[in-house]
Subunit: 210 residues, 2 copies
């Protein structure tokens, strides 16, 4: 059935077109200041058509997050191939993460909106679970790094990896939020790197102590 297949592909490319338009608009003006009608016009579609591909404005927002988490995950995975110490890998992961999610603050806003407002965002249970699963998958990379550090006796074997990975992830999110809050746009990237470096260094020193 080549036809159905082509249809699927076309449908998918429409979806991607809408997502791309929405992304541009959201990142330029923020969620509240973008109307579904604007997304439609920008995609050269009627408003009704948007709702053929998505069930709500919020769903579009969430889908952007899903798409980007996937992109991040691929980049983060590739870190593991590098021949580096676990400490170095943790730093690289941390830098990658903060750069990725701070690169455009709106992306981080979506992540936070999702984390904090899950119950109020009209998403299907399915979609909700998918975001969680995808996010977990990326956080698990921290887990892998920790484990390799233990295997190589870089970290003491007693540490409770499961907790530590989430704590570290939380730390990174907190630092990003902090810099969006207080940092001026221009110097943000350098400043956050130095905060991450200093914080992570202290944390890892503490970890190594056991």
């Amino acid at each position: 059935m080549g036809l159905l297949e082509r249809r699927e592909k076309e449908k998918d490319s429409r979806r991607m077109l809408i997502l791309k338009s929405a992304r541009t608009l959201f990142f330029a003006k923020g969620f509240k200041n973008v109307t579904v009608d604007k997304i439609a016009r920008f995609s050269e579609l009627g408003k009704g058509s948007i709702y053929l591909y998505f069930n709500s404005k919020e769903e579009i927002y969430a889908q952007i997050l899903l798409h980007d988490i996937d992109k991040f995950h691929r980049q983060a995975r590739s870190l593991l191939n590098k021949k580096k110490t676990a400490t170095e890998l943790l730093f690289e992961f941390a830098y990658l993460y903060v750069d990725f999610f701070l690169n455009d603050p709106e992306l981080f806003r979506i992540l936070m909106a999702f984390m904090l407002h899950t119950d109020q965002m009209n998403l299907s249970e399915e979609q909700y679970k998918k975001v969680i699963a995808d996010m977990r998958r990326s956080i698990d990379i921290i887990n892998n790094i920790f484990q390799s550090g233990i295997d190589s006796h870089e970290f003491p074997s007693g540490i409770d990896i499961k907790y530590k990975q989430f704590a570290l992830w939380g730390m990174l999110n907190g630092i990003i939020a902090l810099h969006i809050f207080s940092g001026s746009e221009s110097k943000r990237k350098e400043k956050i790197r130095s905060t991450v470096k200093s914080t992570l260094q202290v944390y890892i020193n503490g970890l190594k102590q056991g």
Copy 2:
């Protein structure tokens, strides 16, 4: 002029009444699901009256945050009077902070909404600065604790307090967000305490190492 004074007081008590109503509703249903009209009805006022005391729905939201930050600050200040080591004080501050802002997740949502959406929240410059200043004031308590730790040689003198206090605050926020995201309502409080304990312990160990 006893009359003007009484008027001022009455006006202020109306403001507080509205804030209290709004708080109840926001905390029960979340920002998006509460209408200004509902706040008005709950306060036994007409909708127009709300706008005599506040300029926008968002301003009400922000004022709740301001009110609670103040409450937190008073509690946190009183910690400093205790005769404890800096390490102990850091733990107490951290517990107080996460308990306070997680006690009702909506409060943390307001904080985050404010941190992340400042540009999109129609607040006056004045109000915005007030929130920053008030928040800073509370974070400075961490600074005081660090300083006392250095003075008592509990921490090495070389550490860069300014950075560390913000990093620590960011960490706490990240951990709260993490638990709102993934924790089930019931066990949240115990779980977050143990995460905070473990994370902070590691961090402080690292700090002490210099």
